[in-house]
């Protein structure tokens, strides 16, 4: 369970939000909504532990995320705005390295399988430079299949996805919730998932 208390975020001199409270139990999802520049990404970055909040605490299962950073990051999967994809490497290499740098072993077969599920069959060995924006998003989202985690934080996961890929993503999120995982995501669209709550900044 993730619990957030009295969170305040400041960018430069501007206070984006203050005194934010919420809790996210296991097997639940939360959508963070708000206008552009309302601080959605800033909030996600604070939750992930990239930015230190001006005030307030973020607890994961009762422990401050800053206190046990490596445990928190083992349970967390963060897919940000930027791709974290290397243009010079192909999807397979990209995934192999990004999983390896996080200390997870993965076989080439498993990676190929995940890429296939997201409809990237036959593009495993093409440098990412030659992929479209939507295809790059899919490479990123295949991390969801490969890297075990209990909480997913997804920044605009539906951006640039076509109908089919959106459905695959929704199924992935459902399966993750069923296994007791939780999800925080930002989106401008309404999300075709039952349950869940929405936080507007």
């Amino acid at each position: 369970m993730l619990s957030v208390t009295q969170l305040t975020c400041q960018r430069g001199e501007r206070v984006l939000f203050q005194d934010l409270h919420f809790e996210l139990p296991d097997a639940h999802w939360l959508q963070i909504a708000g206008a552009n520049g309302a601080g959605k990404t800033s909030l996600l970055r604070i939750l992930a532990g990239l930015t230190e909040p001006v005030q307030g605490t973020v607890l994961w299962n009762g422990v401050d995320i800053g206190a046990e950073r490596s445990l928190w990051h083992r349970d967390l999967l963060y897919v940000g705005h930027q791709g974290a994809l290397k243009e010079e490497l192909n999807p397979q290499e990209n995934l192999l390295f990004s999983l390896g740098l996080e200390g997870f072993e993965s076989s080439p077969a498993a990676i190929r399988n995940a890429l296939q599920q997201l409809g990237l069959h036959g593009r495993e060995h093409l440098p990412v430079r030659y992929l479209s924006a939507g295809q790059r998003r899919r490479v990123l989202l295949s991390r969801l299949l490969l890297r075990p985690a209990r909480l997913w934080i997804l920044d605009e996961p539906y951006t640039a996805l076509d109908v089919h890929a959106s459905q695959v993503l929704t199924h992935q999120i459902e399966a993750h919730l069923q296994q007791g995982g939780s999800v925080i995501l930002t989106s401008h669209q309404s999300i075709p998932l039952s349950g869940g709550s929405c936080l507007t900044l």
């Binding site: 960018r11 430069g12 001199e13 501007r14 206070v15």
Partner: protein, 247 residues
């Protein structure tokens, strides 16, 4: 938590430090003026003319204290930086930023007066003496710090990056100083040392100490003034600044 600790943290917040600094500035400023006048009187009028170096040596009453202060200010900056990184007090970063220009000024003053002194003594404006060279490098370190801080827009990041740089610098300063001395002895360059003026009389020492105290008071007064400006700039939107503005 002990009572004294609470008090300490109270003054670490800009809102309560701002008025305190305002009250302290006049004392340090007048101390700087009085001590400076006494120091200059000792240095320029009271101290006897040097048998070998004539009147020209009198520049050491500015040169030596300025060199001391330039090194000392860097150490204080490193101290504030360590404090800021350890306890995340906002005041620390502001103090470090406020001290840097004064430290750079003293380093420059030391180089300039060194050159002025060097011309009549050695016949050259610049000599690759270990102390002079180290002083020059210290000046570069100050410039690097100021450049880094002014290049970063977000004040929180500027403070942290500056603090890290100051700490890396303070670890390096002794190594640099040692390496330059090593280099100097290898190349057997000018071995004239500025501070080892022949038979330093008591009056000379006293003059330099009084001048050092004057520079010290000046540094504190200027740093407090500058830190007040920084506080106003950074916390324009906060309540206490608005209260102060209306008072």
């Amino acid at each position: 938590m002990s009572h004294s600790l609470v008090n300490w943290f109270k003054y670490a917040s800009p809102a309560s430090f701002y008025p305190l600094a305002g009250r302290l500035i006049p004392y340090f400023a007048s101390a700087a003026a009085v001590l400076g006048a006494i120091g200059l009187w000792i240095g320029l009028l009271f101290a006897p003319t040097d048998a070998q170096q004539g009147e020209g040596y009198r520049i050491i009453f500015v040169h030596v204290p300025a060199s001391w202060m330039s090194m000392f200010v860097y150490c204080i900056m490193a101290f504030w930086s360590a404090l800021g990184l350890a306890f995340k007090t906002r005041l620390s970063g502001m103090m470090t930023a406020a001290l840097a220009p004064t430290g750079a000024l003293f380093a420059f003053l030391s180089l300039w007066t060194g050159a002025l002194w060097g011309k009549p003594m050695w016949g050259a404006w610049w000599v690759w003496d270990a102390r002079l060279t180290s002083q020059l490098i210290l000046f570069f370190l100050y410039l690097g710090f100021i450049a880094l801080q002014s290049a970063i827009d977000d004040p929180r990041r500027a403070d942290k990056a500056g603090a890290l740089l100051a700490l890396v610098g303070v670890i390096n300063v002794p190594i640099i100083y040692f390496s330059v001395q090593w280099w100097n002895t290898l190349h057997q360059g000018a071995s004239v040392s500025m501070t080892k003026a022949p038979s330093m009389a008591h009056t000379m020492l006293a003059g330099m100490l009084v001048m050092a105290l004057a520079f010290w008071a000046y540094t504190i007064a200027i740093a407090l003034m500058r830190v007040r400006c920084i506080m106003l700039e950074r916390e324009l939107s906060s309540e206490w600044v608005k209260r102060n503005a209306t008072e």
